[in-house]
Symmetry: C3
Subunit: 350 residues, 3 copies
C-alpha cells in the first residue's frame, strides 16, 4: 500500500541528496527530527556554527551539515545547502493519509455525480448530484461534496470538509479537515421600519477556487450572493480564516490564521497577510502588500508595502506610534511639568 511507512539507510539518503557521508552507510533512519532531538533513528540539519556546536551535545542519528563544517562525532552527510536538503528529505518521508483507489463501499455517491476512474473516494464520503471529481483526486472520509461541485485533478479533500453547492476547486489544490466552503453569506434586512424580524437575503452564488490553492483546517469561505466568491491560483489560507461572501483573493496571496476578509472585499496578488487581521467589507487592496498580525484594513489600500495597525499604516510609522503609546505615562508627566513650569514663569513675568 502506498502509505506504508518506510525507512532509509544513511547511505541511501546520502546518495539521494548527492551528499558526502561520514559514518556507517548501514545506519537506519526512520524520520526527520528537529534540531535538539536525541532520536537515534532521526536525522536533522545544522547550518550555522552555533547549531553545529549544539548538535554535538545530542545523540541524534545523523546530521546534514555544510561542506566546510568541522568534523563532528555524529554521523554526518555534508551537502551544499543543509536547510534545503532537509526540505527534500521531508518530502521523502511524507506519506499521504491512507486511502484506496476507487469508491469505498460505504461512500454515498449520487448516480448523477461523475467520479474519474483514478479518483479515490473514502469511507463515508457523500458526493451529491451533479458533482464532478477529477483524475487522481482524493476525497477523504466524511467529506461532503455538494451538488454541482467541481473538483479538478489531483485535488485533496481532507476528512470532514464540507462543500455546500456549486463550489469549484482547481487542480492540485488541498482543502483541510473541517473547512466549510460555500455556506451562506451573512446578509439580513429588517422586514419593515418597525423592525419586527430580520429577513435573510437569499444566497445563490458559489465559490471558485483556482489551482494550487490550500485551504486550512476549520476555515470558512462563504458562497457569493450571486456569482462566485473567488480565490485565485495559489492562494493559501491558514486555519480558522473567514472569507466573506462576494470577496475575491488574488493569486499567490497567503493569509495566516484567524484572519477575516469581509464581504465584497477585493484582495490583490502576492499579498502576505498576518494572523488575526481584519479586512473590512467592500475594501479593495492592491498587490504585494504585507500586513503584520492584527492589522485592520478599513479603507482601500493600494500601495505595495509593509503595514501594521488600525488603520493599516506603514510599519515604521506604526511601530513608532505603538512605542509612543506605551510612553504616554511619560508624555503625560512631561506635559504636567511643562504646565507647572509655565504657570511658574507666568507668575514671575506679571
Amino acid at each position: 500500500m502506498e502509505t506504508t511507512p518506510r525507512t532509509w539507510t544513511l547511505g541511501e539518503i546520502a546518495n539521494l541528496l548527492g551528499g558526502t557521508l561520514s559514518g556507517s552507510p548501514e545506519i537506519v533512519i526512520s524520520r526527520p527530527v528537529p534540531a535538539g532531538s536525541n532520536d537515534s533513528h532521526g536525522i536533522t540539519f545544522a547550518e550555522t556554527s552555533e547549531y553545529l556546536q549544539k548538535i554535538e551535545t545530542t545523540s541524534v542519528g545523523a546530521v546534514l551539515v555544510p561542506h566546510d563544517a568541522p568534523k563532528l562525532m555524529l554521523p554526518t552527510i555534508s551537502v551544499d545547502r543543509p536547510r534545503e536538503a532537509f526540505g527534500r528529505l521531508l518530502a521523502m518521508f511524507q506519506r499521504p493519509l491512507p486511502i484506496e483507489h476507487g469508491i469505498h463501499p460505504t461512500a454515498v455517491v449520487s448516480p448523477l455525480a461523475e467520479v474519474a476512474a483514478t479518483a479515490s473516494i473514502g469511507a463515508y464520503a457523500v458526493i451529491e448530484q451533479g458533482a464532478v471529481i477529477g483524475e487522481g483526486t482524493r476525497v477523504y472520509p466524511f467529506a461532503y461534496i455538494g451538488e454541482d461541485c467541481v473538483l479538478g485533478a489531483d485535488v485533496t479533500i481532507f476528512p470532514h470538509a464540507v462543500l455546500y453547492q456549486s463550489v469549484q476547486i482547481g487542480d492540485h489544490s488541498i482543502v483541510h479537515a473541517g473547512a466549510v466552503l460555500g455556506a451562506d453569506g451573512f446578509g439580513f434586512v429588517w422586514d419593515s421600519p418597525k423592525r419586527s424580524r430580520r429577513i435573510k437575503v437569499p444566497q445563490v452564488g458559489g465559490v471558485a477556487i483556482g489551482a494550487y490553492a490550500e485551504i486550512g483546517a476549520l476555515t470558512a469561505v462563504d458562497r457569493a450572493t450571486a456569482g462566485d466568491t473567488v480565490l485565485e491560483t495559489g492562494v493559501k489560507l491558514d486555519n480558522l480564516v473567514q472569507i466573506g461572501h462576494n470577496s475575491s483573493i488574488g493569486e499567490h496571496t497567503v493569509i495566516a490564521g484567524q484572519t477575516a476578509v469581509g464581504g465584497s472585499a477585493t484582495v490583490g496578488k502576492r499579498n502576505e497577510i498576518g494572523g488575526q487581521v481584519a479586512v473590512s467589507d467592500h475594501v479593495v487592496m492592491g498587490n504585494d502588500i504585507y500586513l503584520a498580525g492584527r492589522t485592520g484594513v478599513a479603507k482601500d489600500l493600494m500601495e505595495p508595502g509593509v503595514y501594521w495597525g488600525v488603520p493599516a499604516t506603514p510599519i515604521v510609522t506604526a511601530k513608532r506610534v505603538n512605542s509612543l503609546t506605551y510612553k504616554l505615562p511619560d508624555l503625560n508627566r512631561r506635559l504636567r511639568e511643562l504646565e507647572a513650569k509655565l504657570a511658574d514663569l507666568e507668575g514671575k513675568i506679571q
Copy 2:
C-alpha cells in the same frame, strides 16, 4: 426532485416581478449575477446612473432597471425598486441542498428518538435517544443530533453540525455546517493550594435557541454549567463565533464573524455586533447597541448607541482617539519643542 436547477425566460421573470420588459421574452436566464458580469444567461440590476452607465459596457443577459432609466442596448426589465426586485429574484433561484424526505437508510436513528413524518434525515446522520425532530425539519448528512435534543419545525441542520445533549432549536432556525452546539463550557479549578492539577467543573446544562435563529459555519455555543445558554428568537451568528457558557443573547441581535461572547454574559436585543469583537465574561449589555469591529466590552454597557474601541467608547470619541493615537509622533515633537522653548525662556528670565 425539488432541488433540480431550473431556468426562467425573461418573459416569465418580468411577469413574476411585475415589471416591464424591453427585449425578447424568450431569452433564457440561468442565474442572477453581480454587476459587471458578462454572463449572457445572467441577470443583474442597476439602480444608479453610475451603474446604469457601467452596465452598458458588459454583455450580461438582462438587467433590472428603474422605470426612469435611460434606454439601454441590453434587454431590461423596469421595476419600482431594482435592488429589492433582485432580492426576490435571488429567492426564485435559491435551491436547498438536495435531501430526500424520510430517513436515509444509512442514518442511525435511536429507537428512543422521535422523528416527524415530514422530516428529512440525510445519509449518515446520527440521532440519539430522546431526540425530537419536528415537522419539515431537514437534517443533512453527518449531523449529530445528541441525546434529548429538540428541533422544532422547518429547522435546517447543515452537514457536520454537532448538537451534544439537551440542545433545543426553535422553528425555522438554521444551523450551518460544522457548528458545535453544547460543548462543555471552559471551567476549571485548581485541585488544591499546591496547584498540582486543574479539575474540570462539570457542565450539565443545555443550549436553548429560539425560532428564526441562524448559527454560522464553525460557530461554537457552549452548554451552560446548569440551566441553559440562551439565544433568543431571531438571533443571527456569523461564522467562527464563540458563545461562552451560561450567556444569553437577546432577540434579533446579530453577531459578525470571529466575535466572542464570554461566559455568563448577557447581551440585549436588536444589537448589531461587528467582527472580532470581545464581550467579557459576566458583562451585561443593553438593547439597540452597535459595536464596530474588534470592540472590547469589558464592563456593563447599557446605553443604546454606536461604540468602538477598548473599552467600548461612543464611536465619535473612539475615532478621535484613534486618529490622535496616530498623531502621537507629532504630539511628541510638539512636546519636545515646547520643552526647548520653555528652557530657552527660563534662561532669558533668570
Copy 3:
C-alpha cells in the same frame, strides 16, 4: 444504560453532600439550576447574604446554603461551602453522551488498528491502520482517528474530531467536537526569485498531547514539520484556538477561546492565557504568566506576572496606558493651550 437520566430526592442529596436538610426529604430534584431559576425540580446554591435574599423571591425546588444562613421559606440543605457542594452536585448529574461498549457495526476499523476490549467506538467512526485505542476510551460518531494515532486510556473523542496521522493523546484527555489535530503547518517558500509559485514545505511530524488535557471544540493543533507539536499534561484549550506547528505548551497551561499560538513558539507551565490573544512565531514564554484578553506577545516573555496589551506589558502599566490613550483628546487640548500660552509669553518677553 449508563446514560439514562436520573433524579434524586432531596433527602438523598442531603445525605450525599453531608448537609442538614430543612424541608421534605421526598422532594424530587431533576437538575441543578442557576441562581434565579424558578424550576420547582431544580436545586441551586446561595452563599452571600445578597444571593440569600434574592433566592427568596424565586420558587426554585431547593437551595444549598451555608450553616449560618437565616431561615428561608424554601427547602434548604445547609453545608460547609455551598459553591463547592454545588460543584459536587453537578458531577452527580453529569451524563456522558450515549455510547455502547465495543465497536459499532458501522464503524470502519482497519484490521491493522488495535482497539482495547473495553473501548467504545461509535457509529461511523473511522480508525485507520496503525492506530491504537486504549482501555475505556470512547470514540464518538464521525471521529476520524488517523494512521498511527495512539490514544491512551479513558480518552474521550467527541463527534467529528479529526486526528490526521501520528497524533498521540494521553490518558483521561478530552477532545471536543470538530477539533482538528495534526493538519499541516502553514509553511511555504517561493519557487524562485521570480516568485511564480509558492512551494509547500512538507509537514511530516505529529502532535503529542499529555494526560488530563482538554481540547476545545473547533480548535486546531497543527502537526510539526518534523518531530512533534507538544501539549504537556493538563493543558486545557478552549474553542476555536489555533496552535501552530512545532510549538509546545507547558503543563497545566490554560488558553481561552480564539487565541493563536504561532509556529515554533514555546509556552511555559501553569500560564493562564486569555481569549483572542496572539503569541507570535518563535516566541518563548516562561511559567506562571497571566495574559489578559487580546494581549500580543511578540518577543520572549520570561518573568511571571500579569500582562496586557501589545506588546505584552505589566497590567498596571498597560491599564494606565489604555486609560491615557482615551485621554488623548484632553492631552492634545492641553498641549495646544501650552503652545498658545508660551507664544503669548514669548511675545511679552521679547
